[in-house]
Subunit: 159 residues, 2 copies
């Protein structure tokens, strides 16, 4: 005999079980990602940055002179969608589109001083917030996680 049910009424669910989904690593990744994304958004708000503008800025600071198409590929964003991101960063004078004399179709993306400074501050803030999220995890554990996630990422690119 199963749970007693009055008449023909549907069972009342007191606690929702997601055990089946929990067997999938992907589910855990998704839920962790939700938390991380929410935390990141909150962290970046004071800098008036979103996740995309933040990562674009970091990549430009780290790779001064790169082209928009390179950045789009690195960020896994369609070229048309990158345009507005770059527009926004340029409008705020965090980066600039520098003309490339050897190829007049392309722009070399360069960070400004303000861009580098904001980037540094944002990175520091993100670092602090991430540390709080990862509190309770020992460094070797974290290394292990990163290794595993990289492995998954790799599997994806070799399709």
């Amino acid at each position: 005999m199963t749970k007693p049910r009055q008449q023909d009424a549907p069972p009342v669910v007191e606690h929702v079980s997601d055990d089946t989904l929990r067997q999938f690593v992907g589910y855990h990744v998704k839920r962790a990602m939700n938390v991380i994304q929410g935390d990141l958004a909150k962290t970046l708000r004071p800098f008036d940055l979103r996740m995309v503008t933040y990562s674009a800025l970091v990549l430009i600071v780290d790779n001064p002179g790169l082209r928009q198409s390179q950045l789009a590929t690195a960020m896994d964003v369609e070229r048309p969608n990158l345009v507005v991101i770059i527009d926004e960063l340029e409008r705020r004078d965090l980066i600039l589109r520098e003309k490339v004399p050897t190829d007049r179709r392309a722009y070399a993306l360069m960070p400004t001083l303000a861009g580098r400074q904001l980037c540094d501050k944002a990175i520091a803030a993100v670092k602090a917030h991430e540390a709080r999220l990862l509190a309770g995890l020992a460094p070797p554990e974290i290394k292990e996680v990163v290794r595993a996630l990289s492995q998954i990422e790799l599997r994806g690119s070799e399709e």
Copy 2:
């Protein structure tokens, strides 16, 4: 002296470095998530399911009788957005909205036989695909990753 640059031209970036972002676990989670999400979408396409409809179906099969608001909370989806998801599953006769005699505002979500069957098949397919993504990772490593991700998830909910 740094890299030689002809005249005043911006440096040419041959390889885009994302080392700065790689220091963040969140970045790795995001990139792994992209791969997983793409793989999942491909896996579910033959069943005419998307990630949201799939997880909704699984949760309904595992928790027959649950209410839409419970499901919305479990899935981290706004109630209005869940309506169309449930509509879709119901239209395909995978689930049904059963009237609750004790509360005439609410619907108890129940899977149909077809729903349970499709769910089983989809779960099997996802399991197989995930196994391929995780090939190269030993079971204890996977356990470690899940533990770490759960920890992150937890940190988020205790804000």
